[in-house]
Symmetry: C2
Subunit: 526 residues, 2 copies
């Protein structure tokens, strides 16, 4: 199958935007080569048109059935699979990621789209509730009240660079917003515009094919932060999804809070994903843990939000053996191309900033050419970390920092000093952890996901996944951006009081025509 | 039963605060008389001690069972019922509300406490989810993942003046936060400190009796906004509940957003609760609607968040008949004492500000002595309202503004221009509304609760109630502050990956020892 050539223009409604003349190019991070075509940045008028179309589309989408939303999401997935070759060709050029990763991430992205299709179709997410009235109640009759979730309206989605498919144009934010019945305006990530256009065109076509309104979807290109800021300020936008840095996420949070009408921001930002190694586990499985950790730290050149960037253990012979194996493994791994030249430079700067901190020792530091990142392993003491909180900050790339504690008390002290995290992992024998219930509580207080054994990279897409966590890991620890529960981010409850059955949304009608699981007079039933 | 004399001191942990010397008195709004005892404002040290105790209590409360939380909430309800006489004596003095209202609101408050007790005990609110692992899955084994909601930590609750029991010290915010497992620090409303102390003492005693930690509850007195601002800024506080004005609520939103760690604010603020009267309903039931509306507008001297402050209809004979009946009914109703002298003055100023707007005609304006409010009815045209958005603002008290439209198109234009509302009501014949599906959608887009017939005052406490709505009706339209769903405001999800069964919270164990409704591999079951 051949795909039509890339246009280099934002997609607004069913037509491309007019060329603006403000151009940027994607760049191959492995070679520095500029990639064609040039991309035109969307201007304020394009952005405004996208948002106004989205506002017009919102009530129409809100009215669509779960079935139609599911068809739409499945059509997007099928269309993306149909252009798998084009995706597998373009994505490595723009991101430095290998072709196998492109194919794997495409499968994950389509899996996500189909998960949200199933969620929309099944309808339990609507949290339909019915409290029957009682005209005989004294002193006042009890009214009939029925509630359900309804879509918030147009959602601005900021695509991430590190998952150019799964957290980008047709990623989890877009899929969950569509499933909830919201139009989506995507701000493409500047590092992979060609891939974004390929994906965006398929969403546009799927919307057209299903007869959805023009404003259902828009894709805006822009290299700097100006376009994104204007988008968050636009009065039509009712929520924001973002994956990226703490600086970027908190800037959007401020913009959203300062609007005349403040709106929710779901920003997945930064995390060092602490891994705690207890003595028993280190003694019995130290080598295996070191091997697994080396693989997790360098997976995707360390460019995962869940990359384990901080490893804590109490000093001792088992720890030292573990450290030796980890050092050897990481030193043996090659440098890998990073997502962009800027990302690679940012990584080098982050490592350099750690190394100038007193008391930080470099154990492994490979050399890497431009655009590449080589594995880095550094070590510091727990008291040194406590004295220098900047060492608790994420360094995005294939690096981890060992934190050597003198005692378990000191180790727990470090854990309590850490800011909010996406994940927290403990390696321990079962009996060992059973004696320390407070440790699991400490990890659960700090993070959205707590792991017993294993490593945090690899975020399973399911019903129970929580890819979230307290600030600054995310803007809003009450939500997840991965898994079926992500859909509720883009909805709010509305109740209907005293309505005749025929005037109620189908979801709430007495006969339950959609066969939904509902909470009826306090009891969950279908 | 006699109760011990009021002390006039904040309650922090199990001891009263030290006298600060900064004193204020409650005042009888009907007489202007200052009420004893004088109340000492809590200083920064008191506030800090309350928050630090709450932070210490948080992990202990998080660990408590739903059963223990339920016992605690029921003990509070029983204790409040046991001091019903003292409450019925004090509340009218401090609030101008009649004794019958005090007894009715006490019953409602105890009903709320028991509803949240049942919710905590039943446990479905925890949204337990289990995705079983599959070690055989290829290419990578599927991990076992289990999630549940966990309490956010210490909650600051700002008591309202207009529901001195149900939205105050032991009101819905406090009850739902306790049910979720969060400690609560209440900032008492300055208008009813004696009643607050009476109620706070019973919560304190119930916590002691159940062996809960000292920081489970604190009650702070303070007349100005300084104490509240410092409380929201305190690093131990993890969420805020507030009921009051838009100015007060948005100030807290700003403070919370500007913290080093931003926290959620659930502020229920202002609403004019539009009531739309369609022609058929007016023609057939105009008199009954006018009578019901007059009662709703003046209930509790109009001091309800859900008081209908804006009534929209298309001009015509039926509208004019309705207007005449409404005018007569309201003119016949007496002035009533308002919650405080300041509230009565604020009401007069609000009416005066409406009346200086060009095109506003006073139809009823009774006279009232100091501290009292007399019913007010004014009228304006739809185009005049559209030209003067300040007329869309709430005037808190027994007043409503008729908006006379030339056509239904114009009426809908007004609806679309209104900001977010707690409620929106339509009076229509069933067939009449069936022909206008977009009208119900417009109301649902604007409000948290949509009524067919009836009046918005009277907020039923149940599972389906949504007492919320888009900004500025509340800070966060994704939540409700009344009804069982309010509990989720104070929790966030955490997932456990790969944990041995014995190390999981009971809620998530394979054998379901608590007998909870859970989502297991995507299916809801017990």
């Amino acid at each position: 199958m051949t795909t039509k050539p890339l246009q280099g223009l934002s997609l607004i409604g069913q037509t491309p935007a007019a060329p603006s003349g403000m151009l940027f190019h994607a760049q191959n991070p492995a070679t520095g080569e500029a990639l064609d075509p040039p991309y035109h940045e969307a201007g304020d008028e394009d952005m405004d048109r996208a948002c106004r179309l989205a506002a017009e589309a919102a009530p129409v989408l809100a009215r669509t059935s779960g079935k139609l939303r599911a068809d739409f999401l499945r059509a997007i997935a099928a269309r993306l699979e149909a252009i798998a070759e084009a995706i597998a060709a373009r994505m490595p050029q723009e991101t430095g990621l290998p072709e196998a990763r492109a194919r794997g991430e495409l499968a994950r992205t389509c899996g996500q789209l189909r998960l949200f299709a199933a969620v929309a179709e099944e309808g339990a997410w609507l949290d339909a509730r019915i409290d029957h009235g009682d005209p005989e109640r004294r002193p006042a009759p009890k009214p009939d009240i029925r509630s359900m979730l309804q879509p918030l309206g147009p959602v601005a989605v900021f695509a991430a660079s590190n998952f150019p498919l799964a957290f980008s144009v047709a990623g989890g934010d877009t899929a969950s917003a569509f499933a909830a019945g919201c139009p989506v305006v995507v701000k493409a990530h500047g590092a992979h515009p060609g891939l974004s256009e390929l994906v965006g065109r398929e969403i546009q076509a799927a919307a057209r094919e299903r007869g959805l309104p023009e404003g259902t979807f828009a894709l805006l290109f822009g290299a700097g932060s100006r376009l994104g800021a204007a988008l968050v300020r636009h009065p039509a936008i009712q929520a924001v999804g973002f994956t990226g840095s703490i600086a970027g996420g908190t800037a959007l949070m401020r913009l959203a809070a300062e609007r005349p009408q403040p709106i929710p921001v779901y920003a997945e930002m930064g995390s060092v994903n602490p891994v705690v190694l207890l003595e028993g586990a280190l003694a019995r499985r130290g080598t295996a843990i070191a091997e697994g950790l080396a693989a997790s730290v360098t997976l995707g050149a360390g460019q995962f939000c869940t990359c384990p960037g901080l490893v804590l253990a109490v000093d001792g012979p088992a720890y030292r053996d573990f450290r030796a194996v980890l050092s050897a493994r990481l030193a043996a791994l090659p440098a890998a191309p990073m997502l962009s030249l800027a990302m690679a430079e940012h990584f080098q700067n982050g490592i350099a900033a750690q190394q100038v901190c007193p008391g930080v020792e470099a154990l492994v530091r490979g050399s890497a050419g431009a655009g590449h990142g080589a594995p880095v392993l550094q070590e510091t003491s727990a008291d040194n970390l406590l004295a220098q909180p900047r060492l608790m900050e994420e360094v995005f790339g294939p690096s981890t920092l060992l934190v050597r504690a003198e005692s378990e008390t000191e180790l727990v002290q470090v854990l309590k000093a850490l800011p909010g995290q996406l994940t927290a992992t403990v390696h321990a024998d079962e009996a060992e952890l059973a004696e320390r219930p407070a440790l699991v509580e400490t990890l659960a207080k700090m993070a959205g996901r707590v792991l017993f054994g294993g490593f945090p990279t690899g975020v399973e897409v399911g019903h129970a996944m929580v890819h979230g966590g307290p600030f600054p890991a995310t803007s809003d620890g009450r939500s997840t951006s991965v898994g079926s529960a992500a859909i509720t981010r883009f909805a709010r409850p509305v109740c209907y009081q005293g309505f005749p059955d025929t005037l109620l949304p189908e979801t709430l009608r007495e006969g339950n025509p959609l066969g939904l699981m509902r909470l009826v007079d306090g009891e969950r039933r279908r």
